[in-house]
Symmetry: C2
Subunit: 421 residues, 2 copies
């Protein structure tokens, strides 16, 4: 059984650890409460620009020294961004922990946002924005985010807007960093071949002197408004993405929600796969998942189809959502997907990066850490009645926000099904 | 240290195994010598159609029974296709080996290609082809394959051509299956929490009665012709992909080639990343890799840039390739990327799926299996002189096939650099 550890430094930094047996690698990571939701309205993309510039130099190291050192240490590393957090993480052979942690600590505490690197990064981000335009699957997710979270900070485009990216200065980034990067607003974790006492003392050594600060304010819950939103674009496929509210992180029905989403569109024997792809050949890809969130989670669905089949795909999708809401799931389906979920969890438990993500997100969103044994017990304890309760309490069809991107119009998509929306 | 095993059944089926300590999962897989290169000229897409239909029913199981059973067993599974092989694999908790192997064995030996499933699969493949049209990064790789392997079976589009897909019958698939699916043309392997004696006996039980056959004929080496090929398309980005011949699988300089490609475009301190992205901000993504092959491997490069910067990107790319060919690499660079490569190998060694892939491909292309300890020793034994030898013997710039897809024309891309092509 893996062992888990937790401590808080005097300056407020939370430190988490998990030891996995039989591995030689170690995943090390940080999350800071500073995602795209905190971007000021006139500075969309500030969090992303800051995130990208973290690797571009500190008061002690140039950009080149950072990448040379981490590559030499054999660390596979990167930064990440979502609505609530900026992340920095890497996987390495466990013996490299000390030098890697020293560099990560420097990156978090002392980024210098040098002017020359600003220009290259700006150019690279502007290209990233252009590339997103070439990828309809990215665009439809982006569209869904905007529509689903309309009027809420979660709706902000993480990569930002081109005109804003063009105008941000290193002073903006420095101010942003000063506001959000502090130990009270950061969690540090390691999972894998971990010596906890050593890790704890190294974190103290490299981050113990980090000046205290305060946690970022809570963002507050979103209030999605059910609707169908169609955006016209000349692509080869009609890309359909939808979401509806579900249970939040840490809810009693959390694992029931995961199993419910698997039944709807997880495996190759899931309802959407069978009804939309297998029986009717309407799509190349279709699926559903449960995505947890702080205030509420969401059910997610996706389908990619040809324009000629878009209307029928839409109709079958809606039918399946109605059916799930009104009839629930069978005992046999439940058993099948409970087993599949159990197996996924066990397999993810063998990956140090997956365990790191689990540690960080459990702590961040639920305020606790969950050993694998606990997760397994909770999955085993779910019943078919609980799954039926969760789909009844969080119905998909009546709360659905559905977006479509492609050649279809709202009329051609909905056809005779207008009454169902 | 993991232990490796090998045996051949009386009917010619090769069975491989590797035991990894500290895991509870097991990855199980097969490859059959029947990739897209074996498609008859007038039946492009036959291998892919056959691969997709494998999961759609056997003489003992319906499509639905296959997916229900495998999902119930918690197996994450799928099929795959490349130029030379069709694959079937899955990861599971090791205690599920017997029932999973029984189903996989049935899929390989007794697919029934039922008529009704044919139509749904045909429709789904036609949609897959349409979706590829929406993804310029997929399209530029496809373009490079066609141009690089022009006139050779490797040039065939794996997903096939729409008019062919529309006309293939279940009789075509049955004939294809009868020609290529036999024990002499198949390798079976398992990696992870493995009991070799049990596995060996289960393979005998479920596949020992498979009727013997013959290995598929060798395809023969490709002969790429250096060139620049530009295809015009109204995308937001110019997508550039290139390839040049390198050492084959199993060559003495195999690990030197991997390190050379990492130096050119692997990590964030690699030459292309630093020169093209970091210093000049010309792209959002750029990279290089070494891709092994039976007769020869290839160096691969990729860059995505805006049309305005395409010409400069092209120019810097060519400059870096020339520089690598003519000046080689430094001792410092070599040490850095040798360490990074060593670390990647160690981390991949903790994943049962990664070890399964390694077992299958080593056997298929080199005729041997390589323990992790051997791979580590070989990486440690590489010298900077060997890396310089491999880039001298397999120069990138003079043998390069480069394809560009986007708004640029050949003239606008090459600009004043025509003499360099």
């Amino acid at each position: 059984m893996p062992e888990q550890y937790k401590d808080v430094l005097p300056n407020g930094l939370t430190v988490l650890g998990e030891r996995l047996e039989g591995v030689r690698s170690l995943a090390l990571g940080f999350i800071v409460g500073a995602g795209s939701s905190y971007d000021p309205d006139d500075k969309s993309g500030l969090a992303h620009f800051t995130e990208t510039m973290l690797l571009e130099g500190t008061t002690n190291r140039t950009s080149r020294q950072i990448s040379d050192s981490l590559d030499s240490l054999g660390v596979s590393y990167g930064t990440s961004l979502d609505a609530e957090t900026i992340g920095l993480s890497g996987v390495m052979v466990s013996s490299r922990l000390e030098p890697a942690l020293e560099i990560f600590a420097d990156i978090l505490q002392n980024p210098s946002f040098p002017e020359d690197e600003m220009e290259q990064t700006r150019s690279s981000i502007l290209q990233e924005l252009r590339r997103e335009e070439d990828e309809p699957m990215v665009k439809v997710r982006d569209l869904l985010r905007r529509v689903y979270y309309e009027g809420h900070p979660y709706s902000k485009r993480p990569t930002g807007e081109p005109d804003v990216i063009s105008s941000l200065s290193s002073a903006d980034l420095r101010e942003y960093h000063a506001s959000y990067f502090n130990p009270a607003n950061t969690v540090c974790a390691a999972a894998g071949d971990l010596d906890w006492d050593l890790f704890r003392s190294l974190v103290e050594k490299f981050l113990g002197g980090w000046k205290p600060g305060t946690k970022a304010p809570e963002i507050g819950p979103p209030h999605p408004r059910p609707q169908l939103y169609v955006e016209n674009q000349q692509t080869q496929q009609e890309h359909i993405a939808g979401a509806a509210p579900s249970v939040p992180f840490g809810h009693d029905d959390y694992y029931a929600a995961i199993i419910a989403a698997e039944i709807l569109g997880g495996g190759m024997s899931s309802r959407l796969f069978v009804e939309v792809r297998e029986k009717r050949g309407l799509v190349y890809s279709v699926g559903a998942s449960y995505s947890p969130g702080r205030y509420q989670g969401s059910w997610r669905i996706y389908a990619g189809t040809t324009p000629e089949r878009a209307s029928q795909t839409y109709s079958v999708l809606m039918e399946e959502l109605h059916k799930l809401d009104s009839e629930g799931v069978s005992e046999e389906e439940f058993r099948r997907f409970q087993a599949l979920t159990r197996s996924h969890v066990l397999m993810a438990g063998e990956s140090t990066s997956a365990r790191l993500r689990s540690l960080l997100t459990s702590w961040w969103y639920e305020g606790r850490i969950k050993p694998l044994s606990y997760i397994r017990e909770r999955i085993d304890a779910v019943t078919v009645d609980q799954v039926n309760k969760v789909v009844r309490e969080w119905p998909l069809s009546s709360n659905l926000v559905l977006c479509a991107l492609g050649p279809s119009t709202k009329e051609s998509l909905v056809g005779e099904n207008v009454s169902k929306v």
